[in-house]
């Protein structure tokens, strides 16, 4: 039996790799996506254009402005002389933040009254707005603490001592790049497996395959295992790129990572075979793969946290293999976890794989005749 399956696997691999166009699809898009996602998909801000409206022309306010301009996050793109300039600059999106320092700023500082500073932010991109406010807030807090120290004021009773564990510099790339391993492995495996049966159906060779002495189980294996192989290679290449190109630390055990990837790819193959056996044409298979992929990526915690979603949708994400593999990938990369940390995830993935493969086998039998 194994010899027969091996022959089928070789045939499948040849079918995918010999055609220059489908070979290109396996190599070029994942590479482009890796680079684009790795570099563009970041929530970290830098060079945010700001304008300063300093109505208090004295040393303390100039120090405050210098702190803003000295930070990597902000660059000044306009200087405001009259209040009327503020609105057009913000409206035209020329600047994202206007720091407006009140004329009483220094006087109030010296007389121990709260010195007014206004921050006006463009809220059209509300996430960026919140992060800009966070940065501005800490610059101003630092300035305030410094001022108190320099002018003999008593220190505030308590200070925050903030540390970020696992990612001390809060680099978004460390969050996004390990996620790409899961996303791209899914995309490639799903396309290879999902289109394989549909392509044979379109070409009419599927009927030929059915009249050979292969059992249906063997055909399924022959269709599924190439996906495992290709998915495994693809995942390994991206893992290497994450570690050596993007410098994301891989702190946990490779065994835990690969066990998770194996179960994940098995689940994706099951889903791909289900799509494949339901679709009559390649276009339908492509569409089916797309209809599965979009929600599975959006509702996985890849870019936006699951914890922010409504409770019903949070429950739904348990069915999503991507959710579990993301926990495993990020856990092994950043948190340095081992196999024992992911028992629930492994179980969920194994259950999805078993169910989807069984369903695919059943659909296959139903659709074969």
């Amino acid at each position: 039996m194994w010899q027969a399956v091996l022959a089928l696997i070789v045939k499948e691999l040849l079918a995918v790799l010999k055609d220059p166009r489908s070979r290109m699809v396996l190599i070029v898009p994942p590479l482009i996506q890796l680079i684009v996602f790795g570099y563009a998909a970041t929530f970290d801000l830098n060079r945010v254009p700001i304008a300063v409206y300093n109505q208090d022309h004295s040393q303390p306010s100039r120090d405050l402005v210098a702190r803003f301009l000295g930070s990597r996050v902000f660059t000044q793109t306009a200087v405001i002389r009259t209040a009327r300039q503020i609105t057009p600059l913000l409206d035209a999106r020329k600047v994202d933040l206007v720091v407006s320092i009140d004329p009483r700023f220094t006087r109030d500082l010296l007389t121990h009254r709260p010195a007014p500073v206004q921050l006006i932010v463009d809220g059209r991109d509300s996430n960026t707005a919140l992060i800009i406010l966070g940065y501005a807030n800490s610059i101003i807090t630092q300035f305030g603490l410094n001022w108190m120290r320099g002018h003999g004021a008593p220190a505030p009773p308590a200070l925050l001592d903030i540390r970020a564990r696992y990612n001390p510099t809060l680099n978004s790339q460390w969050f996004i790049v390990p996620g790409i391993i899961a996303v791209l492995t899914q995309v490639v495996t799903l396309l290879v497996v999902g289109l394989s049966v549909a392509r044979e159906r379109e070409a009419g060779t599927f009927d030929q395959l059915l009249v050979t002495p292969f059992t249906q189980g063997e055909i399924l294996l022959g269709k599924g295992l190439p996906g495992l192989l290709i998915g495994g290679v693809e995942a390994s290449v991206i893992i290497l790129a994450a570690v050596f190109w993007f410098d994301v630390p891989l702190r946990g055990s490779l065994l835990a990572l690969y066990l998770g990837l194996f179960l994940f790819v098995a689940a994706v193959i099951g889903i791909g075979l289900m799509i494949s056996s339901l679709a009559v044409t390649q276009q339908q298979a492509l569409l089916g793969a797309f209809l599965f992929m979009v929600p599975s990526i959006v509702l996985s915690g890849f870019a936006t946290p699951i914890a922010n979603m409504p409770p019903v949708i949070q429950e739904l994400t348990w069915l999503n293999p991507m959710r579990h593999i993301l926990i495993i990938v990020r856990g092994t990369f950043l948190e340095g976890s081992g196999v024992h940390a992911f028992v629930p995830e492994y179980l969920a993935l194994a259950a999805t794989a078993a169910l989807s493969l069984l369903a695919a086998g059943w659909l296959f039998r139903k659709r074969a005749y």
């Binding site: 898009p29 929530f43 060079r47 509300s126 925050l160 540390r163 970020a164 696992y166 979603m309």
Partner: protein, 373 residues
């Protein structure tokens, strides 16, 4: 001319029937947009709320109690109390809490004697964006607590600066209000570029386009007949998304419908041009689908400013975003919905879209010749 018009109506009828009879075309035009809208509208938000905080109080007293009450009073946090840092650490490692606030046993003593008592905060940095937002919320709570404390004691304010943040256009800072308008660009990219590329590539594959070429219909008529139905589908998608955005998700719309329609039409023409161009380059559904996803759909998602800030990207990628039509459309959409008809945003972006529509449609027209190769 009359004969030409007759041919055109005939072709249009054929295209319309083809769309209506093809379940996958309707799926891309209606099911996918509806699904995207619901997933994004309900599922995607970047604003953390009710963040699970572990509060470790080694020695509870009035001071720690007032701080914890301040934390509980904000809508951002739910707190879980621990008496040792070890037990909180275990909850942190099991991902039950996203951050730890740690009052060490000498906190109140140091606060009373020398001040500047360190309050330990540990955030989970794996999700850097959320971590940063949580830090911001904690800082704000701390500043409020300081101000409240000095007010109670009649001391000068905790910090010497009175910060007044004002967020224009989206004062409630709901991330949904900026994500949902951007979705119009995604939906129109799907119908304009992906669907058009797929369907016309299929005609190349099946040879039905060649069959059209031997008729008396001119290439201009054939192209026009292809464009009109998908243009209408795309505009339909825009209207449906607008209606759902405003009625279902309560996103404000401050601009004028006329401007929205005009800019959408320009973007759709550019997207249709890209779809036509892709199909005539690929002439194969599988490859056309792949190219369409890579050069239209993914950029509309990642490189358009829909979710990620363009200004913060590295310069080669920032340069690349200038050839992404969705970039100009998303910028206009966000302004139209949240700010209104701001001409200093609309005019340059509309101009860029017009140029792109002209270039892509022109290129598609040039490539489409009545020839068989």
């Amino acid at each position: 001319m009359n004969e030409s018009l007759e041919r055109l109506t005939g072709l249009l009828r054929k295209e319309a029937l083809q769309i209506l009879r093809d379940p996958s075309a309707l799926a891309i035009a209606f099911v996918l947009p509806a699904m995207l809208l619901i997933i994004f509208g309900y599922g995607v938000t970047l604003d953390p709320h009710r963040v699970a905080l572990a509060v470790v109080v080694e020695q509870p007293d009035a001071v720690t109690h007032s701080f914890v009450a301040q934390l509980r009073g904000t809508p951002y946090f739910t707190t879980e109390s621990f008496s040792t840092i070890q037990s909180a650490d275990r909850a942190f490692d099991a991902d039950r809490v996203s951050a730890i606030v740690w009052f060490r046993s000498d906190f109140t003593r140091r606060l009373a004697s020398r001040g500047a008592a360190p309050l330990g905060i540990i955030v989970n940095g794996v999700d850097a964006n959320t971590a940063r937002l949580i830090e911001g919320y904690l800082q704000q709570t701390w500043a409020n607590w300081l101000a409240m404390r000095s007010r109670e004691r009649g001391l000068p304010a905790g910090l010497p600066i009175d910060l007044e943040p004002r967020i224009r256009f989206n004062p409630a800072v709901r991330s949904r209000d900026y994500l949902v308008p951007g979705l119009i660009a995604i939906v129109m990219t799907l119908t304009g570029a992906l669907l058009t590329a797929l369907v016309i590539a299929r005609e190349w594959e099946r040879g039905t386009l060649e069959a059209l070429m031997v008729t008396r219909a001119t290439i201009r008529e054939i192209l026009l007949a292809k464009l009109v139905p998908y243009f209408l589908l795309g505009m339909g998608g825009m209207v449906a998304t607008l209606v759902l955005a405003v009625w279902l998700f309560g996103v404000p719309f401050h601009g004028s419908l006329l401007v929205l329609t005009g800019v959408s039409a320009l973007f759709l023409l550019a997207a249709l041009g890209m779809g036509l161009l892709i199909s005539s380059v690929a002439r194969n559904q599988f490859v056309a689908g792949q190219i369409a996803i890579i050069v239209t759909f993914l950029p509309a998602f990642i490189l358009s400013g829909f979710v990620f800030d363009i200004g913060s990207m590295p310069w080669p990628i920032r340069l690349l975003t200038h050839v992404v039509a969705a970039r100009y459309f998303v910028a206009t959409l966000q302004s139209l919905f949240l700010a209104g008809d701001i001409w200093s945003v609309i005019l340059p972006n509309a101009l860029a879209l017009a140029v792109m529509a002209f270039v892509f449609l022109g290129a598609a027209r040039l490539r489409a010749r009545k020839r068989l190769d």
